[in-house]
Symmetry: C2
Subunit: 136 residues, 2 copies
């Protein structure tokens, strides 16, 4: 996770939650985040697949939250963008002659998964709503 996807999605969802019942365009959202509108549309498509957002095409179109922000947890959001373990990547040493090298990825896998789970459990306790409510 050495990218901005979590921050970007949180930003999008915060805007949608702060301006409910309004169709926000990807261009307008992109200006707030200072990123390219195409990136916003790509992330909106992820949010769409999660069932969190609905969109309206055509003129005066845009996106809107389709689920209450208290039903979306930070863990849900993290899982939607997570593309690696918190502790990083493993080397490909499984085919080495070394007895440690042969086995270490099995042990690292356990440690990496445990660590991911700790993060996810902590994030399950935080809702999008409580994040959004911090803004006046």
């Amino acid at each position: 996770m050495n990218n901005t996807r979590f921050a970007t999605i949180i930003h999008i969802l915060t805007l949608l939650a702060k301006y409910p019942d309004q169709w926000l365009s990807s261009e307008w959202i992109a200006e707030s985040i200072k990123i390219n509108p195409v990136i916003v549309r790509k992330e909106l498509s992820v949010l769409h697949k999660q069932g969190w957002v609905m969109s309206k095409k055509g003129k005066d179109g845009g996106s809107m939250l389709s689920q209450s922000s208290c039903e979306i947890s930070m863990a849900d959001i993290f899982n939607a963008v997570k593309n690696s373990n918190v502790l990083g990547k493993k080397n490909t040493c499984d085919d080495t002659n070394c007895p440690i090298g042969k086995e270490i990825n099995i042990e690292l896998e356990k440690l990496f998964n445990e660590t991911d789970d700790i993060v996810i459990h902590a994030l399950e306790k935080k809702s999008l709503k409580s994040f959004v409510d911090q803004f006046k």
Copy 2:
């Protein structure tokens, strides 16, 4: 943290712990991990700065643990290689006109730091020794 540095350093330390009182060469270590020896030497230099490892130059030289593996925690190791937040990077939206965009990085910073702290506290409970003892 979308790199192999944590895995690499764990691997190095595990070998050093499994073969105590022996000078292991960077080339030998690199063969076990299946990475380039120069990368091993770079990480050894990090371990050296932490005071965990000592090295002997010249022929029959190599590296050796200089601290007991029960005194090194996974949190120490994580902190030594950590170069980003667990939840990733932030966008640079601070200078936007949008009131949310202006403030969001402050709130994200809090959330990102809290999440990092959770990982670190969990890893503080795990020692290098308990990891290494898993190997026969």
